[in-house]
Every structure is written in C-alpha cells, then in structure tokens.
Symmetry: C2
Subunit: 373 residues, 2 copies
DNA sequence: TTGAAAGCGATACCAG
DNA sequence: CTGGTATCGCTTTCAA
C-alpha cells in the first residue's frame, strides 16, 4: 500500500526531461522556460513530490547559520532561553547548524546593531528578542524581504514581517494570577494593584486586561487599581509603589508582571504592610528565592525561558528546513512556582547551567558570542 | 577552525584498510577479526568519528517501526498522549517513521498481549503505558535483551529494563497541591483528605508523601488524613469518600490525585458539604469542566498528556537514532488549570483534535490501530 | 576475513 | 535554456 515516494527522477521521466531541469524548476533557479517550469510544478504536485531531506543535507554543503539575538544575562532568564536554543539545536543531529549568539546589555540598546551584524554575517535565520520593536522594524523587514526567516521570542514585533512568535500566553498569565489572587484572599475585600512595564506594549496591556476582567467577573469584592508602569527600572517601580501604598490604605494584593518585584517588596516592607499583602510575581531569579521561601511572595508566574528558547529554535528550523510557508505563533502556558515546588525549578535551572558548562568543554571551538554594548 | 568531520574513509585510510571493514567493525557485524575491530574502534574514537546521519538515512532503507501501547481513550487523556506522539514523529521529517498504535481498554487488561504483538510485528522501539508493571515486566525484559528500546509514559515500570521514562513529577504535583490547599484555606484549620488509586504504586505513594509533608511543614493548622484508595473505580471512590465525610465532620479540603473526581464531588454534593470544601483535582476532561467553571473545583493539576507523548517519542528517537546509551528520565512540571485559564486549555485540546482529524484525511493509509480487548 | 563497488536522492557544475 | 554527471557518506551486496 505504501507506494515509494516520488523522486526528482520520477518527475523527470514523466515529462521526458532531465533531473537537472526539474531541480531548477522546483527551486525557481534561473534558466528554465516559464512553460517547462509550469509543467514541472504541476506534475510534481500531481505525483505528490516531497523532497528527501536526508539526500538534500547530504549533497548540499550548506550550513544553517542561525543568529540568536537576546538580552544579556542580567538575570538568568536569557541564559536559559539561550540554553533552550542550544539544546533544541543539538536535537537535530543531522544538520550543520551554526549558532551565533549576539547579546545586548539593556532594553533598546544595541539591538539594531546586533540585528544588522547578523544580517551582515549572512545568517540565514534569526531568533530575536525585539526589546523595542519600533526601532527594529526596518531591519526586520529587510530580513523578510531577503527571505531570511525571523522568529521573535518572549515579545512580538508587530508589522515587522517576522515569520513566527513564541511567547507565554499573556491572557493565561493575567487570568491565572487574578484567579489565584482571589482565592488566596478568600473572603477579604479591598484593592489589588498590578505593575507593568509599559501599557504601550501590547503584551503588558493584555496581561492587565486579563487580570482586571478576571478579577472583576470572579471576585467582585476586589477592586483592581489602575496599572503602575515601571518602564523597566527598579527605581520607578519602588517609588510608584510606595506612593500607591500611601494613597491606598486598603491594598490587599499586588501582581507584579515585570521583573521589578524586589523593589515592590521592599517598598511594602518599609511601609510595614508586607505581611498583610498577597504578592504574586513573575519569573524566578536568585533574589526572589528567599522571598518565595519565606512566604512573602505567594506565587510566581514562571515564564519558562528554556521552553521558549526551544520552541523558537524549532519553529525557525521548520521555516528554514521544511520550507514551511506563512507565519506561526505559539503561546505557552506559564508554570506556577510556590514554596511547595520551588526546589524542583531551582534544581532544573542548575542542571541546565551544569549541562551548558559541560557542553562548553566538549566543543573544541566555542560558538562565537558577540556583545553589542 | 572548523575542521571537516571524520568519515569512514578517513578511518579506513588511516588504517590502510577499506571502508567496508571499518563499517562492519563499527557495527560489530560478523566477519571482522577481533584485532582489526579493536584498531578500528580506537582510531574512530581518536579521530572523533560521528556518523553522518543524513547519509545513513539516505542509504539504508530501514524504517523505524514504533509501537505506542496505551490505554484506550476513555477520557481524552490518552488521545492527547497519542496526538503528542504523532506530532513529535512528524517533526522528524527525514526518517521513515512507521507508527503503530495499540490500545487496551482497561488497566491491566490486554497490555501484555499488546506488547507481545508489538514484538511480533518487529517494532524496533516501543512507547508504553505500563498500567500494571508487574505483569508487563517479563515482556519488557525480553525487549531489552533484544535491544529494543522501551520508553514508559505516565508511569514507570521498575526493574523492567526500560530505557526511559517520561512522567509528571509526582513530588511537584503533590506539593503544589498542598501549597495551594493551604493558601486557599487561609486561616481555616481542619482536616484535608487525599485520594489515590493504590498506595502500592510508587507514583501515588510519592504524591501522597509530598502532599502530606508539605501541608505539615507549611500549614500546621491542617491535618492530612490517611489516603483513600479508589483502585481505579468510580464506585469505590464514591463510597470511600462518603464514609469519610461521615467520620470526619471538620473536613475542609480534598485533593483527588486520580481521575475519579466526579464521584468525590457527587458524594460531597449529596452530603451538602460541597460549598465548604476546597477541592483540587487532577487532569482535565469534559465532565470536570462545569465543576471548574462553577468554582466547585478550585484548581486541577493538569498532567500535560500531549507534552508527555511528545517527550516520550523524542526520547525513544534518541535511543533509536542517535544510539544514546544508558537510561533517561524526564519529569515534567504539571500545569495548573483554574477558572481563569480554563478556556485556554480547552481550546488547545480542541485544536489538537481538529489537527488530528485533518491529519487523518491527509494520510491515504491510516496508521494501523489495533485494539486489544 | 576482507576489498571493491553499486546504489540512496538531491545539489551543483559543466558542456552542449 | 537544457541534459548529463560527479559528489556527499553510508549501507549492502558481491567477489576475492
């Protein structure tokens, strides 16, 4: 029943032409008349031609140059994203994958340079964290025009011509945080705050929207305050939250969607109200560990950086190798970390770091890592 | 810097022998003197030989026959595990993978027959849900002796010679359930119950242990009762829980680790105590949806069947294709489903079913699915 | 026990 | 514009 797959030779014979012509036609290389090309394409479709990728890899000496442009490892988040990319790359052992890591120190700083460098180095696929999508858009469109697939990770870059996006589902994050907040507070009523980086970023607006609407519909005794914007700085997070504490004496909970949870905790602690606050944070980094362990933070929404890296690579690979068309989007469900399962996640993180270290030892030539300061 | 990879020819030339001999030596095929074999193996190691898998797939006509032996889709759990396996298989587009699905209707019923059938059909890799590991052990050891890698999914089969195991981390499940229970109950004290299938199964004993110890250390006002065993039947779950309700008037919460959450809810409802109970369940199936939506179930620990299927396939693939040695174990973190994010997971499930359906249409010959009643 | 050689299916180049 | 062909690295078969 399983008839053997169609090859180039089959198509060539069916048309009374040669394998070389068929190949050129299928790849619209120059040197094929429009007429024969059309015929080839048609019979290829009719015979259900699927290229044999093993043969392709064997004969073509092409290596997949992939540039992964991400933020420097200020916290462990981006280190883990990179580890995920590395791991996914290693799980395709047949191809020549060449990973290049480019990093930039801060949001909106050096990322266009890094992207341009990737293009210059003839990367034929890019994974990027578009920290300020606006600035990056021109380069990204250029990549798109050149046929270089780009996959965004963690944040989307709208209207950029990117082929794919891998991120945590913001609606899930916002609404699970809301539901937990409501359940944790039980019968208590009062105000709940939420901090975001910038409401101009759609992801953050979405998280807020999901949080607010879920609280409103499920826990009417709670009242969601207008979002605090910290614009990515600890300082602003601290001051805004301290002000909020003064203005709003019936605050019972706060959901921090950014990485600036430490300053929020500190402000609450200094004001002496931490014990009465239910705090839900985002991500997992060393400074947060004791706060979770002590119960100051009830739960944190873990955005699975490693899984994001893995998925981003796989998606990019699909575009590059399987010639997948169109665009693709993956929204991952976040994990919930609490005192009870904290150690599991910490252990996992340290495993990754260990693995990465041993990888570095195995490879004679470490992959180039360029830093765009 | 990147010196080109070593090939069989390199080894052959280095030893002044032929590529055929080298090949035979590396695969310990018959017809090589012990002496030359040793030399080949050594220089292969010295030169850092890594087989070119693309070339291997191209020349060998071998197809990977993989049998996936699982429980029938009484709930959607196993359907999704199978969907995950299918999807992972599709993501390796270079190999000839032939999937065979064998199912059995109930725990401990027909699974050895299914396993033996897989062996008979010359499967060279098996994914199995060992519903009663005891009974399966002999076949599994036979597979191990024959060099056929077996990966367990959802439940481990100790001492069976299996090469890998993919499951949800039981300690994480138990302790996150405990932590949630404690937080949900807030200041309330009282007794909390836990139902398991059978304490003789190590996974269940572990979940209980994690739940109990986390509650004890973090929420001393709560008291964990001895586990209720339902032995996989709704009937027993119902009766045991009803009895418990009578005996224990200060029950404030229950954690159902099995699929028998509906009878537990029913018993509580009939006794008129449901409203005062905090219920945490396991998995996500149609009957549970309204209970979550109404708030009767506070949260459910979702065991990510699709991710389990995917991982199991990938692991098996690694053993079969990359000739990975030793054994491997993956413990996945469960997801938490509550009212707030319920729709996300439901939508995801229906997407899978839709995808599966369209897959079925695409493939002319549906993969054989054998049912062992 | 070993060597030699014919494929596998696509790529890429050269000659017509 | 098109046809022919060497090549990639490995598996497999046939001779020696």
């Amino acid at each position: 029943m399983a008839k053997e797959p169609t090859t180039l030779l089959h198509i060539a014979k069916a048309l009374g032409t040669s394998i070389g012509t068929v190949h050129r036609a299928l790849h619209d290389n120059p040197g094929v008349s429009a007429e024969t090309k059309a015929k080839v394409l048609e019979t290829a479709k009719n015979l259900g031609y699927r290229p044999n990728l093993a043969a392709r890899f064997l004969s073509s000496k092409r290596t997949l140059r992939i540039s992964a442009n991400t933020l420097q490892g200020t916290t462990s988040f981006w280190d883990e994203v990179r580890a995920g990319i590395r791991e996914a790359a290693a799980s395709y052992p047949l191809e020549n994958v060449e990973l290049e890591f480019r990093t930039y120190p801060h949001i909106g700083e050096g990322e266009t340079e890094a992207f341009q460098a990737a293009l210059r180095s003839k990367a034929n696929g890019i994974v990027v964290f578009p920290s300020s999508a606006q600035a990056l858009r021109p380069c990204m469109r250029r990549a798109a025009r050149a046929g270089i697939p780009v996959v965004c990770v963690a944040t989307d870059a709208p209207e950029s011509g990117r082929r794919g996006i891998v991120a945590i589902d913001t609606l899930v994050s916002g609404s699970i945080a809301a539901d937990l907040m409501g359940r944790f507070l039980g019968a208590r009523g009062g105000a709940v705050a939420i901090t975001v980086s910038d409401m101009g970023i759609s992801e953050h607006a979405e998280k807020y929207g999901a949080f607010e609407s879920t609280v409103r519909s499920l826990y009417p005794k709670l009242r969601v305050l207008k979002p605090i914007e910290d614009h990515g700085t600890d300082d602003e997070a601290f001051r805004s939250f301290r002000n909020l504490l003064e203005e709003c004496p019936d605050l019972v909970g706060v959901y921090v969607t950014t990485e600036a949870s430490i300053p929020v905790l500190q402000a609450a602690r200094e004001a002496g109200v931490l014990a009465g606050l239910t705090v839900i944070t985002t991500d997992l980094f060393p400074d947060l560990v004791p706060e979770i362990r002590s119960g100051a933070v009830a739960a944190t929404i873990y955005q699975r950086p490693r899984a994001q890296g893995e998925m981003a690579f796989r998606m990019l690979h699909k575009f590059m190798v399987e010639e997948a068309k169109g665009t693709d989007a993956v929204a991952l469900a976040p994990h919930l970390v609490m005192r009870g399962n904290l150690d599991f996640f910490l252990q996992r993180q340290s495993q990754e770091l260990a693995k990465e270290k041993s990888d570095a030892l195995h490879h004679a030539a470490p992959e180039p890592a360029v830093d765009f300061a």
